[in-house]
């Protein structure tokens, strides 16, 4: 017990230790996060009127970012599956970075949902009258918090045993790793079902949303990990092999191709049928009655997705510069497509045919940046702690000169 408290204290301490680059990076993130907190306090005082949301478009940037980030949390599963299911050992050393990313990202998801609430002071009502299993939102609460706990346990256990210089006992984490794989699929499915199950919103009411969601998640998540691992490799002593990155490249490659294919299926169904239900899709891709706020965004996303897919298919992307470019394109493309492109059009036009466009406000944007900064801050701290501990540089024995029995 005492050793565990020492471990937690040690984690706290070490997250403040680093060279000037580390301090600069952390300071910048902290400042952005605090600006976001300031904007959120204003929102608490004045209400959600500080956002661009209206009764017509009642969900905006917060839910869009939430949706995208649920996808990003899939990164963990995409690292875990090759290692634990297919015994691909290239990724063995880096799998923990995926799990840590999942922890940070799920915390961001929960923050994005919280800032979207009109009465966050009443969140305890969830524990008192939980509308399970009827409301998909309650499923999502379980899915996200469960995934968070699973990954916190797996990462915490592995890092702590390394700190104590013990071999981790497979019994204590391998079963959880396998549960987490299935759970990673459920968080996307359940989050997609949140939208899919609404009969009054034809744009969402389509079975393809969940599979598309998974495909884009399995592209964006590992893309993010590819970039992160290179940063870890550059600024720490942790070993990340090129093979690990190339294994991830193949995952992103396949996921991107599937994503593009499913997008094509959706576009065909909407536009070839050309029924009354196409209004939202028309608004998104072509504009509706002169309203076209999302059109430049979605075409940017499609160009980015397309370019990324082409880059990933050509053999030249086995080289890192091109691979990185493809990953950046995929991350941004999917952010637009799975965020604003999925949420906002469902509200335009309204079920009564009114067209009101959504324009995020500065305060709303600052809150989003704040949460992103906070998430990156958390992830940096996680990496900062895990690298020296897992490499055996920072252990209980080395620190206090006693054997950790």
């Amino acid at each position: 017990m005492r050793r565990y408290l020492t471990f937690l204290w040690e984690c706290m301490r070490i997250s403040f230790v680093g060279d000037w680059r580390y301090h600069l990076w952390m300071t910048i993130l902290t400042i952005i996060a605090l600006i976001g907190l300031y904007a959120y306090c204003e929102q608490l005082v004045y209400g959600l009127v500080t956002t661009g949301m209206t009764d017509q478009v009642s969900w905006g940037m917060y839910i869009a970012n939430f949706t995208y980030l649920v996808g990003l949390a899939a990164a963990a599963a995409m690292l875990v599956i090759p290692v634990y299911v297919y015994r691909n050992m290239h990724l063995y050393d880096v799998v923990i970075f995926g799990e840590l990313l999942a922890v940070a990202v799920i915390i961001m998801c929960l923050l994005f949902v919280t800032v979207d609430l009109g009465r966050p002071d009443r969140f305890l009502h969830l524990f008192q009258r939980f509308n399970f299993p009827l409301s998909m939102l309650t499923w999502d609460v379980i899915a996200l918090n469960g995934y968070l706990l699973l990954n916190v346990h797996i990462c915490g256990y592995l890092i702590y045993t390394a700190y104590c210089e013990r071999r981790p006992s497979p019994l204590f984490y391998v079963p959880f790793v396998f549960i987490a794989i299935i759970w990673a699929v459920t968080i996307h499915t359940v989050t997609a079902f949140l939208y899919v199950g609404l009969g009054g919103r034809p744009f969402w009411n389509s079975a393809i949303i969940a599979p598309r969601f998974l495909a884009s998640a399995f592209a964006a998540g590992p893309s993010f990990i590819i970039l992160t691992l290179q940063i870890v490799r550059r600024v720490t002593t942790h070993h990340v092999s090129d093979e690990a990155l190339l294994t991830l490249r193949r995952i992103v490659q396949v996921a991107m191709v599937i994503n593009i294919f499913l997008l094509g299926c959706e576009l065909f169904t909407e536009f070839y049928t050309d029924s009354a239900h196409v209004a939202s899709a028309r608004y998104l891709y072509l504009g509706l009655h002169g309203h076209a706020a999302l059109v430049p965004w979605i075409w940017t996303a499609i160009v980015f997705d397309g370019l990324a897919t082409v880059l990933l298919i050509v053999p030249a992307s086995r080289g890192l510069p091109l691979l990185n470019a493809a990953c950046v394109l995929a991350i941004f493309g999917i952010w637009i497509e799975k965020g604003m492109g999925l949420i906002v059009p469902a509200f335009v036009p309204t079920p009564l045919g009114e067209i009101v466009e959504y324009q995020p406000t500065i305060r709303e944007t600052l809150i989003c940046f704040g949460i992103w900064a906070f998430g990156l801050l958390l992830y940096t701290i996680f990496v900062r702690i895990s690298v020296p501990v897992l490499s055996g540089q920072l252990t209980y024995r080395k620190r206090f000169g006693q054997p950790a029995d």
Binding site: V17, G18, D19, R21, Y22, W25, T30, I31, L34, C41, E42, V45, Y46, G47, L48, V49, M53, T54, D55, Q56, S58, W59, D116, G118, R119, P120, D121, R122, H125, L126, Q128, R129, N131, L134, S135, L137, T138, V141, L198, G199, G200, V232, R234, V235, T236, T237, A276, A279, P349, T350, P351, L352, G353, E354, V383, P388, Q393, L394, K398, R399
Partner: protein, 339 residues
């Protein structure tokens, strides 16, 4: 990102170093701590402007869900609401909780052949139900449509001619359809909204967490959210209130049409029915075979908006046999509620 191991002070910490370094380290750490704490304080500073009524209190925290309240709890809560309304508006309200009547299921029927689109119902509803005037919340939306189709997508929400009805147009007022299979109730994560035995879907404004999932789920765009603290002029406040309908709301919660629950459970008609100059609006108990609505559902040509979604609304549109509009043209109601 994390630095390389060369920079990492893995040895025992400060106490073994030179005293000067420790002092310097102490000072810079202290300065960093002060800077950090003041930055957090600055970030939290907008909270000073929080309305005292918005602060979480023990009383609010302990308030139970409507369905779990004992009669004594309910009495206390109604008392508190009356107190709060009086403090804010200087009007003593009569806050009640009229129960649903046995053997009653309310149904609404609206004659599209007769409606002239004057929007008197919209403003009578606002006057009755105490929704926010700024930002403006209205439960009824009247759609102007061209003769020849019933397609909400081509409808005009913001028609503003000097006189209604306009030639070649018809009008379709839409409000909460009080569905028998309400998607809004299904999706609410905290059961803050439910269907009462008389068919009215209500919201416990003290329980709603403001996630707006119900607003996304509603196929009739019938739900409204309080994006800001609702503003109702004290002289316009309707003091005849019920817990589940027109008592004042706070910011951050949903609200909707309740068929004027506080009136209809006491044998009165909803405000929109009462005000309609053309008699297009009919309301009553569908379980009573002699009621006007029962007659309409039995005998008239009835249309259900978005029937394909299958939410089984308790709101029906109907047509006269001889397509006719008996009313002379009149001036529509303006935004101030004036005729």
């Amino acid at each position: 990102m994390a630095p390389t191991s060369e920079h990492e002070p893995l040895g025992p910490p400060d106490e073994q170093r030179s005293p000067a370094l420790t002092r310097r380290g102490f000072l810079s750490k202290g300065a960093a701590t002060i800077a950090g704490v003041s930055a957090v304080a600055a970030a939290l500073s907008p909270l000073r402007n929080l309305d005292p009524a918005d602060r979480p209190t023990l009383e609010k925290l302990l308030q139970k869900h409507y369905k779990e309240m004992t009669p004594e709890d309910k009495q206390r809560v109604l008392e508190r609401i009356a107190r709060q309304v009086e403090a804010r508006y200087h009007v003593r309200p009569d806050v009640q909780d009229p129960p649903p009547l046995k053997g009653v299921e309310f149904v609404y029927a609206l004659n599209i052949s007769r409606c002239i689109g004057c929007r008197k119902c919209v403003y009578a509803c606002v006057k009755e139900n105490n929704p926010s005037r700024a930002p403006e919340i209205q439960y009824i939306r009247v759609l102007q449509m061209e003769k020849g189709s019933i397609d909400v997508e081509g409808s005009n929400h913001h028609y503003d001619p000097p006189q209604v009805p306009e030639h070649d147009s018809f009008y379709m007022p839409v409000q909460c359809h009080q569905c028998s299979k309400p998607p809004c109730v299904k999706v609410c994560p905290v059961e803050a909204t439910w269907q009462e035995p008389d068919g009215i879907t209500v919201i416990d404004y003290d329980w709603c967490i403001g996630c707006r999932y119900c607003e996304a789920a509603c196929p009739y765009w019938a739900r409204r959210f309080n994006f800001a603290e609702p503003q109702v002029p004290a002289e316009e406040l309707n003091p005849d209130m019920a817990y589940l309908s027109n008592r004042p709301r706070t910011k951050g919660v949903m609200e909707k049409c309740t068929y004027c629950l506080h009136r209809v459970r006491r044998g009165r008609m909803p405000a929109c029915v009462e005000v309609c100059p053309t008699g297009s609006r009919k309301f009553g108990n569908v379980l009573d075979p002699d009621s006007e609505v029962s007659y309409i559902l039995r005998e008239k040509r009835v249309y259900i908006l978005k029937q394909d979604i299958g939410t089984l609304p308790r709101f029906f549109y109907y047509f006269d046999e001889r397509g006719s509009r008996y009313h002379e043209p009149i001036a529509p109601v303006g935004p101030g509620g004036r005729t």
